[in-house]
Amino acid sequence: MIDATLHSKAHADTGEALLELRFVARADRLKLIRGSIRSTALMCGFDDEAAQNIVLAIDEACQNIIMHGYGKGIEGAVILTLFRRNGGILVHLRDFARPVDPAKVKPRDLTDIRPGQLGSHFIREIMDTVRFGPSPNSKGNLLEMTKRIGGPQ
């Protein structure tokens, strides 16, 4: 199930919430959200290449929740909120899985050519800032990412 809610009010800390999606942590749901993320990034003023990169970063973060947060066979909830803020985008990605040690969500050495574990590297390469930790005021985890227009690609 996918639930979209638009908010037009701006908030001092987070900016204007352009899109909120609540969906089940399943691989076949990711294609449902990719188009909405791209459209929102374009609305924020990113060019097409940057918008595609943001789609990839958020997609990879959702994969981490599916594969490592909830784990195989557990279809928990994920809430994605995208804000337009300070000439860029702010991403909040919440899950309700068990707390994950941020130290364990690290990109690996790319000189070691082998399959897997590239997602965290993509996220940190694409986004300007990445913060991950327990979700405040509730159980689960919160991933917060930002990207400025014209920032490094």
Binding site: A27, L30, K31, E49, Q52, N53, L56, M67, I113, F122
Partner: protein
């Protein structure tokens, strides 16, 4: 969605279509490894692939390593800008042989 095209002559061709992502990675991996197991060079045609993520890249890397391990090559054909960008992010754009199209791959003897 994937399709394995295998002829008697070298190489085998795997056509990947649509999203090469977490959802489809198990099928993609199965097809790529089946193509490698035929014991020939493999061309992976990405001309109809609209999106690729780390799961798709992982399938390609695994198949590449298995192909090279038995003395063959796995090359990518007609990759999109999005796929090229993902390969660059993974520092893999210099690891794979990449051809503009199947004719160029044939001309290169891939």
């Amino acid at each position: 969605m994937t399709k394995l095209e295998s002829h008697v002559s070298d190489p085998s061709i795997v056509h990947l279509q649509g999203s090469v992502d977490l959802e489809h990675a198990p099928d993609v991996r199965k097809q790529l490894l089946a193509a490698v197991a035929l014991g020939r060079n493999v061309l992976v045609d990405l001309s109809a692939a609209t999106y690729i993520d780390s799961s798709g890249i992982a399938c390609l890397v695994e198949a590449l390593q298995k192909a090279r391990g038995i003395g063959h090559e796995l090359s990518l054909v007609a990759i999109s800008m999005q796929a090229r960008r993902v390969l660059e992010l993974a520092r893999l754009d210099m690891v794979f042989l990449i051809h503009d199209d199947l004719a160029a791959a044939a001309a290169a003897g891939a």
